[in-house]
């Protein structure tokens, strides 16, 4: 169907993978991780990969009624006929969809109930950094970058097949010996009452701590080279080219930034090749240069200029940079990009006061934000979107109300240029994540988040700014899973059995299902969600390592409480977070000097809240 689709070649000599994104096709198709593995596995001589996405509830009901099993979109092949079902765990609220897919596939939900004829169920993605809530359903997790590990898993499964697919334990044991692969059934969990005491492997050769996989050189993996082009409307319907992986800005709430270190840039020339080739093959008229902070890419101005001035022969193409700082430099780039329609710009200051932004280590001065906003409105943008988190550590009502104050000021800046200036505030409840300095923090409960949202809403009354917020109840459910342990698995299963699918879709979400399931399992939701963890507590993910020393995270947590920011280590001395030294890696950065326009903590004095940039995302409005 789609452009870029591979013709799957199955055969006895090939290990077959079904790559599943456990959300709708429209959300899952653009996922780059899945597309990268799809390409790599189909290029190997010993593997073949097809794709599947979670069927919407109406389709799932029809499939059950008609006895149609979960199947691939490529060749309409039944999921059970694959050697491996590989799930992308992008966010906790899709976990019940994984169970839905397994059940529709006719595969036993629990690993312990599966036999040699059942597919192996594997999972990866950022969710795998706390694998425990899904540990009873997933046979093996791949932690970290999947490019190399996918091939190694293929080889282990190939030998198991060649030897006649006998004991399932044999193949799981062999998988557990691969670097970066965590096989939950090889580990025993011990508790002291509600507290976790230890997670310990019961095989002498299985590692006590599973280290994440990290590809040293992004240039060795120029994927996807033939991106999938869907025939129907999907999110992010454009060419995506990853310009670097990893981020060392050090925002303390951001799991992605913490678990993907170090920074590995793609060579500028390869970015150009991938952009030009991708546009030529797909016919897209928009390209996104993706990363966690694209303005930090060493070659950003040259690459962007090359695309928009047509010197790369791409024709009339628009560029979007999904994560940018905001300063004179980046607003300048943004105006180059959006020569025509200037509909909306998104800025992510994340917190309403300078104090709060020091705590979360996203040190953006108000002066700098207003300057960026002023530049944006003066250059024709009409609508500014501001992203904030609430429920952050040490947050007071002054910090919360600071969100409204910033928004009112942004509108005021805009009204100097146009009476039509508007501003949308998007307020999300903060969920602490594993492997971040905030992993010890007790999340705000539903009532507290509601109260804070109410404060901002009242303060924005008749301000010209609109407020949107995430449902605090969904934030709470996400909190149950995000730092959950193995005891949360049965809760996820109970939510699914009670009909809880597509939990990140408001029309399908209900917190009552989660609370009922917790009660049925005898678990206290507050113990999991709102409780502050003790510094020396065993955390459910301590046997999985993102390379970060726990001491580093703990120090950073205490620095946060002391309102002390930390500059980016790309251009300042190393803090020994553990990733580079532990894995004998280095940052791969094209330029040894910080990007133009200033950047967080590079040559600035963080204590005075001076010219420090914010993030910015360009948003293409209108149809398309």
């Amino acid at each position: 169907m789609e452009g870029g689709r591979r013709r799957p070649v199955h055969g006895p000599g090939r290990v077959s993978w079904l790559l599943v994104y456990p959300d709708t096709y429209e959300i899952g198709l653009p996922n780059q991780g899945l597309q990268i593995l799809y390409e790599i596995l189909n290029e190997r001589a010993d593997s073949v990969a097809e794709r599947a996405y979670a069927p919407w509830t109406d389709l799932a009901a029809e499939m059950r009624a008609a006895g149609v099993p979960f199947f691939s979109v490529d060749d309409h092949r039944a999921a059970r006929d694959f050697d491996l079902l590989a799930f992308n765990l992008s966010t906790e609220l899709v976990y019940t969809n994984v169970l839905e897919c397994l059940d529709l596939a006719g595969v036993p939900l629990r690993s312990t109930d599966r036999g040699p004829d059942d597919p192996l169920v594997v999972a990866g993605g950022h969710g795998a950094f706390n694998p425990e809530p899904m540990a009873c359903f997933v046979d093996a997790f791949v932690i970290g970058d999947g490019e190399e590990a996918a091939g190694e898993v293929t080889e282990v499964v190939a030998s198991w097949k060649a030897a006649g697919r006998r004991s399932r334990d044999d193949v799981l044991h062999d998988l557990a010996l691969l670097p970066g692969v965590y096989v939950p059934s090889m580990y025993d969990v011990f508790y002291d009452g509600p507290a976790l005491r230890e997670v310990r492997p019961h095989h002498p050769d299985v590692p006590a701590v599973v280290d994440k996989r990290t590809i040293a050189d992004l240039a060795a993996w120029p994927h996807p080279s033939t991106p999938l082009v869907p025939l129907i409307d999907v999110v992010h319907d454009r060419l995506n080219v990853e310009v670097f992986r990893g981020c060392t800005r050090g925002c303390r709430f951001c799991q992605a930034g913490m678990v993907t270190r170090p920074v590995r840039e793609r060579p500028e020339e390869q970015v150009r090749t991938m952009v030009a080739g991708g546009l030529r093959r797909t016919g897209h008229d928009e390209v996104a240069l993706t990363s966690l902070s694209t303005a930090d890419f060493s070659g950003i101005d040259d690459v962007v200029a090359g695309i928009v001035d047509g010197s790369m022969g791409c024709g009339n193409v628009s560029v979007s940079l999904p994560s940018l700082r905001v300063d004179a430099f980046t607003v300048g780039i943004a105006s180059d990009l959006q020569k025509g329609r200037r509909t909306g710009l998104t800025f992510a200051p994340e917190a309403g006061t300078w104090r709060m932004r020091q705590v979360i280590n996203k040190m953006i001065s108000e002066e700098d934000l207003y300057r960026a906003v002023d530049a944006a409105y003066s250059q024709g943008w009409r609508r500014i979107k501001l992203y904030f988190l609430t429920g952050l550590p040490t947050e007071t009502d002054t910090d919360t109300l600071g969100v409204a104050e910033l928004a009112r000021d942004v509108v005021a800046v805009g009204r100097r240029h146009t009476s039509r200036a508007t501003c949308t505030v998007s307020l999300g409840g903060f969920v602490p994540k594993a492997h971040t300095p905030f992993q010890w923090f007790g999340q705000n409960g539903v009532g507290e988040l509601r109260r804070k949202i109410g404060l901002v809403r009242d303060a924005l009354h008749r301000s010209g700014a609109q407020l949107r917020w995430h449902d605090p109840e969904a934030t709470f459910a996400e909190g149950i899973v995000s730092r959950g342990d193995r005891r949360i698995g049965p809760v996820i299963e109970a939510v699914w059995r009670a009909g809880g699918r597509f939990q990140e879709w408001s029309e399908h979400f209900s917190l009552a299902r989660w609370l009922d399931a917790m009660a049925a399992e005898g678990l206290d939701p507050d113990w999991y969600v709102t409780r502050h963890r003790a510094d020396d507590e065993v955390l459910p993910w301590d046997h999985v390592s993102a390379g970060l020393h726990k001491d580093f995270l703990r120090q950073d947590w205490h620095d946060a409480l002391a309102e002390h920011g930390l500059p980016d280590c790309r251009w300042t001395p190393c803090y020994d977070c553990g990733v580079c030294t532990g894995y004998a890696l280095e940052h791969v950065v094209g330029s040894s000097v910080p990007p133009a326009g200033g950047s967080q903590g590079t040559g600035q004095d963080p204590s005075r809240g001076a010219v420090v940039p914010v993030e910015l995302a360009t948003v293409r409005g209108g149809a398309g």
Binding site: T282, D285, G428, F430
Partner: protein, 276 residues
């Protein structure tokens, strides 16, 4: 950032009524194809691709035109769009051997190479088979098409189908409840039916051939089938459920003559070219 509680996927495009003009994202004003050359292309939509919407087909063509490197003219202004005009929307799920689009070009390109260029890069199931360069000022597709033909499979036996067809053709008036943009109304659809016959059948099914007018508005195959089951006669009250539907032809009228859209307004001395 925590994950948003509400994600959004675009709505599956709603099915525009046959004979109505669907708005196509990315296409400028219908008929606004610029000062340059305009090529009219005929294509089929067959197989699995029948489940994508009119708008999705439009986007697939926009991408294919870029991949093929054709010199598509673009609109002026802040948001340049390719100058492409589509004809009558085909309902999702229906197949067609006679879909059309008009493409404005910056300079003349041999119509056969437009067909070949697109055929090489379009998704499976979207198959261009012929093209012609239009005379300057030729009317836009959706303004000029006056009737369309369908082959429709319906789940009734041949005798029932024949009874329904005879009753409908004999009736002076056939009222069908229709909804348009959310408003319900009862309309006489008899004048829209120009031809109707049973052309094939099997166990419990029949195939109908119909030609329906597109003015003052079109008649959907589903509405025609509903009319067959509601017109007084032996087949009244029987449900003519819809099976596969294939649009086979579209027609324009020029001075009383019925012409295929590729024949209606060719550029003088520019013969229609068919791909082999």
């Amino acid at each position: 950032m925590s994950a948003p509680a509400v994600s959004s996927a675009s709505d599956p495009a709603t099915v525009p009524a046959t004979g109505e003009v669907a708005e196509v994202a990315g296409a400028g004003d219908p008929g606004d194809l610029g000062e340059g050359r305009v090529v009219r292309i005929r294509f089929a939509k067959r197989g699995r691709v029948r489940f994508i919407s009119h708008r999705d087909v439009a986007r697939a063509f926009e991408r294919a035109l870029r991949v093929a490197g054709l010199p598509v003219a673009v609109t002026r202004g802040f948001t340049p769009h390719p100058r492409i005009g589509f004809g009558l929307a085909l309902a999702v799920g229906h197949e067609s051997d006679a879909e059309y689009l008009d493409v404005g070009l910056d300079h003349a390109v041999e119509p056969s190479s437009v067909v070949e260029g697109l055929a090489a890069v379009l998704p499976d199931g979207l198959t261009p088979d012929a093209a012609v360069e239009l005379a300057p000022g030729a009317p836009a597709l959706q303004e000029a098409v006056t009737s369309v033909e369908y082959l429709m499979v319906t789940g009734v036996a041949a005798e029932v189908a024949a009874d329904g067809v005879a009753a409908l053709l004999a009736a002076g008036e056939v009222e069908v409840a229709r909804s348009r943009k959310g408003r319900r109304s009862v309309e006489d659809v008899r004048p829209l039916v120009r031809h109707l016959s049973v052309v094939g059948h099997g166990e419990g099914w029949s195939e109908l051939h119909a030609e329906v007018a597109t003015r003052p508005r079109g008649l959907r195959p589903s509405e025609l089938l509903e009319a067959l089951g509601s017109v007084p006669g032996p087949a009244a009250g029987i449900e003519f459920c819809e099976g596969r539907v294939l649009r086979t032809r579209q027609w324009m009228e020029r001075g009383g003559a019925r012409l295929e859209p590729l024949e209606a307004d060719p550029r003088p001395r520019a013969p229609e070219v068919r791909a082999s």
